[in-house]
Symmetry: C2
């Protein structure tokens, strides 16, 4: 193998070991040393390729993102909702789930959540919405909605959120995400924003 | 004082001591014994009036609810948003904040969150929306949105949610809550729900 192939193989092995470790052992208990051992490399190689444990975590999550490319904004809400629900109903979310579980009481984990969101969603959405004066509010609504669903459904298991079938959740989330991204926002801060849409 | 007045005074003293304890010491560290001592009553009186520590917590929160009466559904989103933001920006939310912080890693705390939500919001909203076939999805969206904002803004302090001024947050939340309650929901589960609203 050429040098670059060897290094690519080592990176893949490290990412796979890290994913496994974060998912089964949790973020806190996973160490660079144990991940390196599982990947069959020296700890220094993990540091060289990925930096810190937290950087490695971000790389692991970014590598199997629950967030699709932003692409066409007009159907991003639907694409995001499908991938988001599929991801969190599946078995690959144990590592990110462990991170979100400890983040409220561990500042470093909360910083990793921030890094993951910046890289995977806030950054790309800011680019896609460039020029929109409400871009920060739109990103905030999007992130808060996504985080809210993960906490209520998968971490706290609050009812009725926990029991909604995935196929009923996807369209509701799709509409909510899309509305946050491209729908009319509420009245400007000065307004009262309570025009009351009425029932239809 | 008549018996009922004495018992009302004792209840108030217990609730005040519990609120103070949950806010300053946190949910986990607060004990029936320490709350009783602070209220100047015997532990057995706390148990008699409120049941367990977790029941006492629910009573404490219910007593200064961040959720207004549902009342007229057509402007409940706006009223809820104003009260919700005011509450979480204020200083009275330390106890509930402490509960939400430990809930992801403490099942009993998660059950208290469920009890608070059932009592303060899911129950009343179910009554107000009786007959609506989508009531469970509406309640779920409402609860997930509210929880999402508390976790992103106040617990994880994720940007850009953490930095949005309250006066910009209120109308955005008002519109979102109202839409979840009385707006058109996305297509039925069988549909793809991605008609794409387009930008307006």
């Amino acid at each position: 193998m050429a040098f670059t192939e060897r290094s690519a193989a080592a990176r893949r092995a490290i990412l796979a070991a890290a994913r496994e470790s974060f998912a089964t052992t949790g973020y806190e208990q996973s160490t660079i040393r144990s991940i390196a051992a599982a990947a069959g490399v020296h700890s220094s190689m993990v540091i060289r390729y990925f930096g810190s444990k937290s950087d490695l975590f971000v790389a692991t999550v970014a590598n199997e993102s629950p967030i699709p490319e932003v692409g066409d904004l007009d159907d991003f809400g639907a694409r995001f909702a499908r991938r988001f629900v599929e991801y969190w109903e599946g078995s690959d979310c144990a590592g990110p789930g462990a991170l979100l579980r400890v983040a409220p009481t561990h500042q470093d984990a909360a910083e990793q959540v921030q890094a993951v969101f910046d890289r995977l969603i806030a950054g790309p959405v800011r680019v896609a919405l460039a020029g929109d004066p409400d871009v920060e509010r739109r990103v905030a609504l999007l992130v808060a909605t996504a985080v809210g669903f993960v906490y209520t459904r998968h971490i706290l298991r609050l009812e009725p959120v926990a029991s909604i079938p995935p196929e009923a959740l996807v369209p509701a989330l799709a509409a909510t995400f899309q509305s946050h991204l491209t729908g009319p926002l509420a009245a400007e801060p000065a307004g009262r924003g309570d025009e009351g849409r009425g029932r239809e």
